[in-house]
């Protein structure tokens, strides 16, 4: 299950500048754990002990996972998980 994860600009310091990384996982939670293994520090930015941090928007393909099954949202081979940043400035 290879999932493409789109990394927003402010988190690319953790992915050696890469704007997309590929990891394995069958749902969002597994993908986040795989991200953390490959790029330590990412998980803390995305989730806390209550789940996805309130201001973080995760999209499975084009849908906000809040409107799907949250961290349990299933992902299939070839799917894209996007981490969408806040709209900063002005």
């Amino acid at each position: 299950m290879s999932i493409t994860v789109r990394i927003p600009t402010p988190l690319r310091t953790l992915t050696e500048g890469e704007d997309e990384v590929s990891v394995e996982g069958g749902n969002v939670a597994q993908v986040i754990d795989a991200l953390e293994a490959a790029h330590p520090g990412l998980k803390d930015r995305l989730v806390d002990d209550k789940g996805v941090r309130r201001f973080v928007n995760l999209y499975a393909n084009d849908e906000d996972i809040r409107f799907l099954d949250g961290l349990e949202t299933p992902l299939a081979d070839g799917d894209t998980l996007s981490i969408i940043p806040a709209i900063a400035g002005g």
Binding site: R6, P8, R53, P85, A86, G89
Partner: protein
């Protein structure tokens, strides 16, 4: 001033009320805390001030004419202000914004006849800046590009307006001023005015503690395109605020003070309270850039609702 009769909505900008935050002061009995309600501007945000100043200055010296289109990159509030004044003054407006700004914002600006261009949501506001610059470079004579990040009229609006008004309202008491950094126009202009006051006023800039944050409207300078109008030597201190602390303070202001504000206000007030606790005695002033209703997101049940 707010009760006066005016000739145009453009004249309704500024002279915003300042409200004392008594519920917070219970934690800091020797410190007065005031919030200046910038959402009382006609476009609903602090951005009315710089947008108005940038447009009027450009009209005065001929940079903005009726045969040009005003274009800028904006996360929303500046766009609402341009759209409002563009409609009132008779100028065409085009806005570049990241595609993930809320539907409400897109609808508000379109209501004034503004045309929207969307940039990549993954690139945030920096992506919108780059996209806008590319459009202007392709057709420079077609556009007037105020560029709020580098336009001196932006901080000037706060020097002439916000800073002067704060001194009128609490000039005899204020010891500290706190506000967040976005374009940095509010911080730069207001601070320059407050530093001219006869007594010293400490000016503190709030910024998101993390590069990846949820304080819309605010910039983490260390990881962003730094606006040319930003002078890092001007603030006396940079105060980092976590997203969750700003969000929680927004909720608290609504519940305890009847102030339903955006997250940048929550961050500003959290910064003001942090400072108040530290100084123990004094008077801290901060700003409410906009209302919370600018940030309503669709709920699950209405997400696919169609009229």
């Amino acid at each position: 001033m707010r009760h006066r009769r005016i000739e145009s909505i453009v004249d309704a900008v500024g002279h915003t009320p300042m409200v004392r935050l008594r519920s917070l002061e219970r934690e800091t009995p020797e410190v007065e805390i005031y919030l200046k309600l910038e959402y009382a501007n006609p476009g609903g945000s602090v951005k009315d001030r710089p947008a108005r100043q940038m447009m009027l200055d450009a009209i005065a010296d001929g940079r903005l004419t009726k045969d040009r289109v005003l274009i800028d990159s904006t996360s929303g509030n500046t766009g609402v202000a341009y759209s409002l004044f563009g409609a009132a003054l008779g100028y065409r407006v085009q806005l570049v914004m990241p595609e993930n700004v809320s539907q409400a914002r897109k609808d508000i600006t379109r209501a004034f006849g503004t045309e929207l261009v969307f940039s990549d949501p993954m690139e945030g506001s920096d992506g919108a800046i780059r996209h806008c610059k590319a459009l202007v470079e392709a057709e420079p004579s077609h556009y007037f590009y105020p560029d709020q990040y580098s336009n001196a009229s932006n901080p000037k609006a706060h020097f002439l307006g916000t800073g002067a008004e704060i001194l009128e309202q609490v000039g005899d008491r204020i010891t500290h001023f706190v506000t967040g950094l976005g374009t940095s126009g509010t911080m730069m202009g207001t601070t320059r005015r407050l530093k001219q006051h006869s007594r010293p006023i400490t000016c503190v800039a709030v910024e998101p503690a993390q590069p990846f944050h949820g304080l819309e409207g605010l910039k983490h300078m260390g990881s962003s395109i730094v606006p040319p109008i930003f002078d890092p030597a001007l603030p006396d201190e940079l105060l980092p605020v976590e997203t969750e602390d700003g969000w929680d303070m927004s909720d608290r202001l609504a519940a305890d003070e009847g102030l339903h504000v955006g997250h940048s206000t929550g961050a500003n007030v959290f910064g003001a309270l942090t400072l108040a606790r530290r100084i123990g005695r004094g008077c801290v002033v901060t700003l409410a850039p906009d209302r919370g209703d600018r940030y309503f997101a669709p709920l699950r049940w209405e997400k696919h609702y169609e009229w």
